[in-house]
């Protein structure tokens, strides 16, 4: 039993040590470098080509290609979290003791040993001196006065809670890590493309592998892209409508840096593109001589009316073989093998505009935009923002604040009052030194007669 508790003790000790924190800072920094040198989320083939089989095997083994989500990186982050919690809890009692330390009784010998100490003589009776001092100190510090046998004693202090600043910084870090965890468990990130005038009610998560119903529909009413005279893009803008159970509930514009949030789901302008629409085809069967006109939506299979033949426009290209725009069309005719061909849009007479026995002519074609939206739900974001604020504010307090204390002893002396004072600051000794000297002078100035030793 004893043996066991020693091991736990030792584990606890090392988890609570600042040495471990320093090690983890260094280790996280050093390993993070690796992930910036090896491209993240590359494919196995890319890595084999780039690094060869041996290095690739190491990369695979240590998850270097998705390093920041690897088990060992998470272990490091987890260790830092545990270290931060344990360390803070172990040090907190000491800090709380220091917060209360001002109340203890002080004797002249201890005051003399302080780095900042002084003696002042005031030619004023004890009771009056106490009143003068209480007024002076009360303007600058929060004071506690206590009557002693031979006089008065006081503790004047300021910035007491700066000692707690560091704990709130750490709490802020925990909020941030916790918020990230909440987001990764209860949130999602997805993507959706919507053609102009098109409506979608589901988005795709994880590289288009999984569709997620939104619970409402979003329609892209208009997509606009503006350019500067230089040709650089000026603005991407999607005007969208949110439709819930057939009712239009909201209309808004989504711009870069100006997303739209509806029911906790946020849409961000991410990409755009154009695709063909209003495709009108003339299809003529060479054998029968029959010709038909039909409208074919992009990437949707349609039946050629009056036949059992199917047709789909699979792709569009701006320029095929220097002959201008073309549509890639596939046809599956009854009793025949499916076939496909690029059909030139601008050159209807081109002899290659045929799929098997079908001569295809493009009679109408429009280009319309589609917008690409990043879709996100992250219930952890407010926890993270709270963590950011907490961390920043308390960092200011922790790094720039200091707990300054001045102890005073007032004694009756011949012809007046003898005042001994000593001061201590938790940080910024030099600055406090100036503050202490000023205070000593001001106390001396309470009367004309002054005797100061710093």
């Amino acid at each position: 039993m004893d043996q066991k508790s020693t091991i736990f003790d030792r584990i606890y000790q090392s988890l609570a040590s600042v040495k471990l924190s320093l090690f983890l800072f260094g280790a996280l920094a050093a390993t993070s470098i690796v992930g910036t040198l090896i491209p993240q989320e590359s494919t196995v083939e890319q890595r084999l080509r780039e690094y060869g089989p041996k290095l690739s095997a190491i990369i695979e083994l240590l998850d270097f290609a998705d390093m920041y989500h690897s088990w060992w990186f998470k272990v490091l982050l987890g260790l830092l979290t545990v270290n931060l919690i344990v360390c803070s809890f172990r040090r907190l009692p000491q800090t709380l003791t220091l917060l209360r330390a001002g109340n203890q009784t002080m004797d002249p010998a201890r005051l003399e040993k302080m780095r900042h100490h002084a003696r002042v003589q005031l030619p004023v009776p004890l009771a009056a001196s106490q009143k003068l001092l209480a007024a002076l100190l009360g303007r600058r510090y929060s004071c506690q006065w206590q009557e002693r046998e031979s006089g008065w004693q006081a503790v004047a202090e300021k910035g007491r809670f700066s000692r707690l600043g560091v704990y709130f910084v750490h709490l802020g870090v925990l909020f941030i890590l916790g918020g990230a965890l909440v987001g990764s468990i209860f949130g999602f990130r997805g993507f959706v493309t919507i053609p102009e005038h098109g409506t979608v009610d589901r988005i795709f998560i994880g590289g288009k592998h999984r569709a997620l119903p939104l619970g409402f529909a979003i329609r892209c009413d208009k997509f606009t892209v503006d350019f500067y005279e230089t040709g650089a893009p000026k603005e991407f803008r999607s005007d969208v409508s949110i439709i819930e159970q057939g009712d239009l509930v909201e209309q808004a514009a989504i711009l870069v840096n100006d997303p739209l949030t509806f029911k906790g789901i946020t849409f961000y302008q991410a990409t755009y593109g154009s695709e063909p629409s209003d495709i009108m085809l003339q299809v003529k069967d060479l054998k029968t001589g029959e010709g038909r006109r039909l409208e074919v939506p992009f990437r949707e299979t349609v039946m050629i009316p009056g036949t059992k033949d199917r047709l789909v426009v699979m792709d569009y290209a701006e320029n095929v073989g220097n002959h201008g725009p073309a549509l890639f069309i596939a046809a599956a005719r009854e009793h025949q093998q499916p076939a496909s061909a690029w059909i030139l849009v601008k050159q209807p007479e081109f002899h290659g505009n045929r799929i098997g026995d079908l001569v295809v002519t493009v009679e109408g074609l429009q280009n319309s935009f589609y917008t690409g939206l990043q879709v996100k739900k992250d219930p952890g974001i407010w926890v993270i923002y709270a963590g950011f604020s907490l961390m920043l504010l308390s960092m200011l307090v922790a790094l720039y604040g200091s707990h300054r204390r001045v102890w005073l002893l007032l004694d009756q002396a011949s012809g007046g009052t003898k005042i001994s004072l000593g001061g201590h600051s938790s940080k910024h000794e030099a600055r406090f030194g100036r503050e202490f000297t000023k205070l000593t002078q001001d106390i001396g100035d309470l009367s004309a007669n002054r005797e100061t030793h710093v």
């Binding site: 600042v18 040495k19 924190s21 320093l22 800072f25 260094g26 996280l28 920094a29 993070s32 470098i33 992930g35 910036t36 040198l37 993240q40 920041y68 990230a180 990130r189 500067y228 230089t230 650089a232 893009p233 000026k234 603005e235 991407f236 711009l255 870069v256 840096n257 100006d258 997303p259 946020t266 961000y268 302008q269 991410a270 990043q374 879709v375 996100k376 992250d378 974001i381 993270i384 923002y385 950011f388 961390m391 920043l392 960092m395 200011l396 790094l399 720039y400 030099a430």
Partner: protein
């Protein structure tokens, strides 16, 4: 006068200041050092004016934005921040022996910005991703932080130059005798790191909030983000080591130099050697 002309002029003002500070320091001519301080304040003033003129110019071109949007403008602001922070330190602590590093750095940065053919100094309109109020807060805080780290690095180098730790208070003669005491260097190094750390933290946070409103992701392990975190971790290590483990002097000097190396890599290395979201900052 156009802003680029004014800013290239500032380059030479800093050169003069750096040389005057250097000679004044090495040959103990306090007149020169005092003159150098005046020249530096003049430089900072002209430099600030140059940035303001550039801001106005961008409005005249019809797409006004703060001069903090591309590589050139970030170099210019960074150099300004270094000199400003140095001069504030000088005004507060009254020692002019620490000026050579920050002023030379400012001179080199401005020379690179103004005269390198690889740095585009034309005012360009903002691409949609940069059109955000967070841009100003993010760039200003990051570069003020970097500037604090730069000054701390200069102090670290001086600290190491001052000689071995065995006799820190007996610097002997020569250049080492002209370097302020190790206590002062140590204290100022710490002050600048604290300032830099605070500002870098604000910079990372504003960047993160901005990324969340632009792309819906407050952290995506983009190389720039990751390197800023690496830098932050190095300085977090420095502060913990000093405040809790009692590290002082040479150790802190080394960490502050390494930290500034990380700053440089975050700023330049990531742009030139790696790829990522901040690629427009080329």
């Amino acid at each position: 006068m156009s802003s680029s002309l004014l800013l290239s002029l500032v380059t030479f003002v800093y050169l003069v200041a750096a040389l005057a500070y250097g000679t004044g320091w090495l040959f103990r001519r306090s007149v020169l050092s005092r003159g150098a301080a005046w020249v530096s304040w003049l430089g900072v003033g002209l430099h600030g004016a140059g940035m303001l003129v550039r801001w106005v110019e961008s409005y005249r071109m019809g797409f006004g934005h703060a001069p903090l949007s591309n590589f050139y403008e970030s170099l210019v602001f960074g150099a300004w921040a270094v000199v400003l922070i140095y001069l504030c330190m000088e005004a507060r602590y009254g020692s002019r022996e620490l000026a050579v590093f920050p002023l030379s750095l400012a001179f080199l940065t401005m020379a690179y910005a103004s005269f390198s053919p690889n740095v585009e100094s034309k005012i360009q309109p903002l691409i949609p991703a940069l059109k955000s109020n967070w841009l100003i807060a993010h760039v200003i805080t990051c570069f003020l932080g970097y500037a604090g780290f730069a000054v701390a690095c200069g102090l670290g180098i001086l600290y190491l130059l001052r000689g071995p730790s065995k006799h820190p208070d007996n610097p002997g003669s020569g250049i080492r005798a002209r370097i302020p005491s190790t206590q002062i260097l140590d204290e100022l190094m710490y002050q600048n790191v604290v300032f830099g750390f605070l500002l870098l933290t604000v910079g990372i946070i504003t960047g993160s909030v901005w990324a969340n409103s632009a792309w819906g992701s407050y952290w995506s392990w983009d190389p720039k983000e990751t390197w800023s975190l690496i830098t932050w971790l190095v300085y977090a290590l420095l502060l913990h080591a000093r405040l809790v483990r009692g590290w002082h002097g040479r150790k802190i000097a080394w960490v502050s130099i390494i930290g500034f190396g990380c700053v440089i890599f975050t700023y330049l290395g990531v742009n030139f050697l790696l790829s990522g979201l901040h690629s427009y900052a080329r």
